[in-house]
Symmetry: C2
DNA sequence: AGCACAGTTTACCGATCTGTACACCCAAAG
DNA sequence: CTTTGGGTGTACAGATCGGTAAACTGTGCT
């Protein structure tokens, strides 16, 4: 049970779940796709749910790391970083394997608010909200928590709309809206 | 094959799919829940996919009818109606059987952009965007299509965030953001 | 050498999945 | 009354679902 073997399984499962969904992906499929035997799979993860939770943990780590790093590459001041967040989003949308937010999809497939998967998906959004709040506070916004929440709404809305409407440049529209909200909150 | 019988099946299936999801709900479950026999079910709908498409058509009709009517009850002028949309949303969020947007969930479970279910889910959002654009134009916004898109982002973001974060009053925050955007677009 | 253990193969479990074959029932038409 | 035909229930098909049993293989440690 090498720990890196487990990580490799989680990485591969992440790809498949992200592409095809949770209920639509059976364990048999993952076993074939990873090349590992079914017994080994169940040695590493006692249930499918446990595997999904591990996948979500990895996805949270990957996404937040990428998001924050990219934002800091794109801008220096907190205010500019809040806007750069939407440039980063736009880059993500244009990746050809973009399939929306895994946590929104997880919350959509496991709707019971008390289900561990649903809870963990919510935790990801809470952490993002915290990050935004922090930036808003540093930028000197009047009500940083409220502004952060509003910017989060723009981000989430842009993601789900980008999935369903493949037409317009939603990241740009979201960024311009964020600009208006930010300006309004700074005065 | 009375047509009202078919409609009754669609109505009941809508409830179950909305509560439990598409992949997680089997046809056997629907047969039990509706009391109809399996053979009859498949006489009305040749496949599960056909049933889901019928459900989405009904949902689109129900939701847009309710949404527009409620908005017109709450406000008279186009500008006020754009803001009242978020009051209507808030009422929806507080219904105890609120489970998010069925079309976002449909798009999340059927991710292939060419899949009929995904396409139909996108169509719903396109119709909502048209409705918003119309109101923005009547309200005299500078760039009505862009403003409509931004307000749609706020709406969609509020929905998915309301599903995952059960804490704050997202409809209110979204409305205040809409107010700022609207004011900015009217000057 | 001998042991421990990660990982494999193969076969299987009962449940559930979408979808179908077929005989039956009952009302309207001849 | 008999025939016709739509709607029904039963029973099933074949695949897949999540998960397990048991015996084997290979590697590293002592």
């Amino acid at each position: 049970m090498r720990p890196n073997k487990r990580d490799e399984l989680v990485r591969k499962a992440l790809q498949v779940f992200y592409r095809d969904g949770f209920h639509a992906t059976g364990m048999d499929r993952l076993v074939v796709e990873t090349g590992v035997s079914k017994t080994s799979m169940y040695k590493h993860f006692r249930t499918k749910e446990e595997l999904i939770l591990a996948v979500l943990r990895l996805r949270d780590e990957n996404f937040r790391n990428w998001f924050v790093r990219r934002i800091e590459e794109l801008a220096d001041t907190p205010a500019d970083q809040l806007l750069a967040a939407f440039d980063a989003l736009g880059e993500w949308f244009h990746e050809d394997n973009f399939r929306g937010c895994m946590f929104i999809k997880a919350g959509a497939e496991y709707q019971d608010p008390d289900h561990p998967i649903h809870v963990q998906a919510g935790e990801h959004k809470r952490l993002l909200l915290e990050y935004f709040s922090d930036l808003c506070r540093k930028a000197g916004a009047r009500d940083p928590d409220k502004l952060a929440c509003q910017l989060l709404l723009l981000k989430e809305g842009a993601i789900v709309t980008a999935v369903l409407l493949h037409s317009c440049d939603l990241a740009r529209d979201a960024k311009e809206a964020a600009q208006v909200l930010l300006q309004n909150a700074l005065v």
